[in-house]
Symmetry: C2
Subunit: 286 residues, 2 copies
């Protein structure tokens, strides 16, 4: 049913979606737009998009599905601009890492029978470095793709059908879909995604200060250290919007971890240390 | 030169050394001892050792090189027991994760011209789960193998030659050797090895409490979460001795990280967050 797609933002995620759709057998058109047209050419060369445009509005208007694959505030900006120019024959979806502010904007601007539909989405896949050059048709294979749709909203039958079709493409790209309330989504990802990232950033920044001037000693940590600091390479440009739009949940998770580390530090020589290891082992039970 | 080796402790590291020596072309004998003889048979079956004995003392006496591959307090215990029965024709080395207490015992009990030589060693390689069944001939390939020898000690020419030979086998197993002062060693590994482990333990224990009852939600975190909690599977039995023998350095590193996380938490919406990401990116620069 969907045969004309616009991908706005051809970074790692947008380009990977284009490649994954092709790998899953999608034969319709895919037009791409990118803030930097020069970098958009990488997605074109890789075959993730068929054409590239400088006019994101027109590309969205001419498509049935528009995928917003830009940072969160840029997504909100597109949502404002696209709402007046798209109608009930159109579906927009996104890949933003927090969903409360986006779901609020979706309810405010979309999702009535007269307006375009907006399906807030969040593929739990990525890499510590962005950019189309690292895009991968297999990025979503085995991943979870979260949706935070509002089941109460009344859409046109047409946009409901587009939505069903897009969910099927997501499954065809290899993901497992889970539906969550947007507030619950943001709380959950604060624990399982944002907390690990900010801890890796703090750990990497601290270690750069402590051992950064001795490159041979960085090798000493081996695989364990490399894994625990891999996310230290993540760009501020992406995480700033997450920190801004999920501040309270992230603060609560970080504070809980600080307390947990302090507890462990105070119990390095008591039986409490065993309890912490046993509890941690449980999280990693097979 | 070394043609008779005893490996005391055929867990992950002891068994991997046996396999790696064979892979590197070692053609002498290797006798193994294990606290649980039943598990020692795994190492025998894998070809890491030629024979298994119940008498660790006798196995050491009959060898030129004894490798202690047991937890730190068990290593100290063996050092006490072996010192009176071995002589200057013998070299002992170990794989313990902290080196200050072991280097002190080595100076007290070994390393005179009349006594056996003891070379404190620490291969920076391992897995989050122990046991001979996970042993790997390639475990030390590309890894750093630390030594904390005291250059001032006077050894017999024979044991000095054994030591040179063992260092060559370590290189033949694929490792890069680095020599460090034992106190500096313990401070360094507190940052690059013990800190990542204890943080992964605290993070895993916390997440088990928060999302452990919802297995489908654990999948949501994807690769990043798996990596950041992989070390959560590490056994208390090994880390207890490390916590006991490097308490102050680990406490200092954990406290520094708590403060760093708190700083990040207080600055989720200020430009300081950018500085933390930039500093973390530096640690992971290619």
């Amino acid at each position: 049913m969907i045969s004309r797609i616009a991908i706005l933002g051809t970074g790692l995620l947008g380009t990977s979606v284009g490649l994954a759709l092709r790998a899953a057998g999608y034969e319709g058109s895919i037009v791409g737009w990118n803030r930097s047209p020069e970098r958009g050419k990488v997605a074109l060369k890789m075959g993730a998009i068929d054409s590239i445009t400088a006019d994101a509005m027109e590309a969205a208007r001419a498509s049935q599905l528009t995928l917003l694959a830009v940072p969160i505030y840029a997504t909100l900006d597109f949502m404002e601009k696209l709402a007046p120019v798209l109608g009930p024959d159109h579906l927009i979806t996104d890949v933003g890492s927090t969903k409360r502010v986006i779901a609020e904007a979706a309810t405010r601007l979309y999702n009535t029978p007269e307006r375009a539909a907006f399906l807030p989405g969040h593929p739990m896949a990525g890499k510590e470095r962005g950019g189309a050059a690292l895009a991968d048709a297999a990025l979503f294979r085995g991943a979870v793709w979260l949706f935070t749709d509002d089941p109460a909203c009344q859409r046109s039958a047409h946009s409901a059908a587009l939505m069903k079709d897009w969910r099927e493409w997501v499954v065809a790209m290899g993901s497992k879909t889970i539906d969550l309330d947007p507030v619950r989504h943001d709380e959950l990802v604060a624990w399982v995604s944002h907390l690990p990232q900010f801890v890796a950033t703090a750990l990497s920044a601290l270690l750069e200060e402590e051992v950064g001037d001795a490159p041979d000693l960085k090798d000493v940590g081996g695989r364990a250290l490399r894994e625990m600091t891999r996310l230290g390479a993540s760009p501020y440009s992406m995480w700033r919007d997450i920190a801004y739009t999920n501040t309270e949940a992230v603060q609560a998770a970080l504070l809980a971890l600080e307390q947990r580390i302090a507890h462990l530090r105070e119990n390095l020589r008591t039986p409490e240390l065993r309890d912490e290891f046993v509890q941690a082992n449980k999280f990693r039970r097979e």
